[in-house]
């Protein structure tokens, strides 16, 4: 197991958001997480790269093991962890800098922190091109890498964000409803990218779109009110779920 979550509980200012979740993510697979709004899907995702703790009053219990090592253990630096566990947010958020600088942002910081060796201009160029290609964006932006990332369309911006995440060469990629603001064609491009990416990365995909989970994920987990109702092979969750609540949700009877 690449990621093993054990008895995870997260609360904000005493209000419990995640009420004890135990869940595994296999290496080089896509785990889809579905569930109605407010079921703590995003909080779960942000527990994996320790982004929750940026909010005041957050308390996390249980453990998140990545390659067997607890990321909440004392001595684990969240800054280092976040380089291993990349994240794409629900809304496309390019940084207000050029397309090239957006993608190179993480790698340059890693060099500055001596977490990766010095990169020559050619190496950086190559990395940026490779990541933009992996995010299916290269052909659209290769002639204007020095224009602002803010000038791209929403769908392009989200693929830029994906490229920026890939540029850190993470082991795990967390996608938080990455297509919620995108048109069907941009969505298809992102999903297309995922199929290729899972050969190199372990992916956790939170989505409000159950059809997307059905299309893009190998395993699917159904969350409800901060609890894990059911997890299993995507085909099983969508055709023959064990729990009545899962069935109601995937068939659109509630949520």
């Amino acid at each position: 197991m690449k990621v093993a979550v054990r008895g995870l509980r997260v609360s904000f200012g005493g209000a419990e958001a995640i009420r004890g979740i135990t869940l595994d993510v296999a290496a080089n697979r896509v785990l889809g997480i579905i569930g109605p709004a407010g079921s703590a899907k995003t909080t779960f995702l942000r527990a994996l790269n320790r982004m929750n703790e940026l909010k005041h009053g957050c308390k996390t219990e249980g453990s998140v093991l990545i390659d067997g090592e607890d990321v909440y253990a004392p001595g684990i630096d969240p800054v280092v962890l976040r380089r291993r566990v990349g994240m794409v947010f629900a809304m496309p958020v390019p940084l207000p800098m050029s397309i090239f600088d957006n993608v190179a942002y993480g790698p340059r910081l890693a060099v500055r922190h001596r977490a990766s060796p010095h990169k020559t201009k050619a190496e950086l160029d190559e990395l940026v091109e490779d990541c933009l290609r992996s995010a299916f964006l290269w052909d659209e932006v290769k002639d204007r890498l020095d224009t602002s990332g803010l000038r791209l369309s929403g769908g392009q911006q989200q693929r830029l964000c994906l490229a920026r995440t890939l540029a850190m060469r993470p082991e795990i990629i967390l996608l938080d409803e990455p297509c919620s603001g995108l048109d069907p064609i941009s969505t298809a491009k992102i999903e297309e990218a995922l199929v290729v990416l899972k050969e190199r990365y372990t992916i956790v995909l939170v989505t409000n779109n159950t059809k997307q989970a059905a299309r893009a994920s190998d395993e699917t987990a159904f969350f409800l009110m901060g609890e894990l109702v059911e997890v299993g092979a995507t085909r099983k969750i969508f055709t023959n779920p064990s729990d009545k609540r899962t069935e109601d949700y995937v068939t659109g009877r509630f949520g």
């Binding site: 940026l54 947010f89 940084l95 207000p96 910081l109 602002s148 920026r164």
Partner: protein, 278 residues
């Protein structure tokens, strides 16, 4: 004409009148000063030394004194102000203490400048034995403009979207990386505005300066030399009836300097904003 149409017309007229009146006052002052001052301007006036207590000659030392003093004040206040603003908005949570600090800063901004002058005189000039000097004046002005700098910087920093910070942190940036690479560059136009406001205020300041930087005519050779700013020069010329013409000449240069600083601000802001939107 029915009632609501009439009230609408009255409101528009009143608002327009208020606008015209405020602009007219400003225009009147500028025209009044320039009309009397511009004829005084000459190469000798701008680049010459004063003669006969300022009755003749130029105001070059005052021009130098004004800009050196103001720039020194900003140079001292800027790192303190931006540092405070970053600390308050990025590294502390909103608590009673930060609210108290903010309230204190606002109060400080409302204190009359002569009180700062008095403080500067007692503390820098007398207690620290700096004497009437550039450094005492600059420190006093720095304290005076600090609240403005802190508040404008803080506003500018808060206006940087939280999502940018989050993205930066999510790709392995520390908080300090994020402040340096994302927050400050994008808060820059706002910070520049604060700097220019403070510069304008320093250039025109009289009360705080006359007590702390003194009123020496000579070109300063070091930070412990006394200087006379244009505002102080104007005050002395007019108050002591030395030369009304030269006083207006000085006022004209002062007004044009402040105008130039403002124009420079707009130009710089536009450039900064355009560069980002490229």
């Amino acid at each position: 004409m029915n009632f609501h149409k009439a009230s609408q017309a009255v409101a528009v007229a009143a608002l327009a009148a208020a606008t015209v009146l405020s602009l007219a006052v400003v225009a009147f002052i500028i025209v009044f000063v320039l009309e009397r001052g511009l004829p005084q301007l000459s190469a000798e006036f701008l680049f010459g030394l004063p003669r006969n207590m300022g009755k003749a000659g130029g105001i070059f030392p005052a021009i130098v004194g004004t800009f050196v003093l103001s720039l020194m004040a900003i140079g001292i206040a800027l790192p303190l102000g931006v540092g405070t603003a970053v600390y308050l908005s990025e590294y502390t949570r909103e608590t009673g203490l930060t609210r108290a600090i903010r309230f204190g800063t606002d109060c400080l901004a409302g204190i009359p400048s002569i009180i700062f002058g008095l403080f500067g005189y007692v503390f820098f000039v007398t207690t620290l034995r700096m004497g009437w000097s550039l450094i005492a004046g600059a420190l006093t002005l720095a304290i005076m403009v600090l609240p403005t700098l802190i508040r404008t910087s803080e506003e500018a920093i808060r206006a940087v979207p939280a999502s940018w910070r989050e993205v930066s942190l999510s790709v392995g940036a520390t908080k300090w990386d994020t402040v340096r690479k994302v927050v400050l560059p994008n808060a820059l136009p706002g910070i520049v505005t604060g700097v220019m406001l403070s510069l304008g205020r320093s250039i025109g300041e009289t009360a705080a300066v006359i007590f702390t930087a003194g009123s020496s005519f000579r070109l300063p050779k070091g930070v412990f030399d006394s200087v006379r700013t244009m505002a102080v020069h104007f005050y002395i010329l007019a108050r002591e009836g030395v030369s009304v013409e030269k006083a207006y000449g000085t006022a004209a240069v002062l007004v044009l300097s402040v105008l130039a600083v403002n124009v420079l601000t707009y130009w710089l802001m536009n450039r900064l904003i355009k560069r980002k939107a490229r």
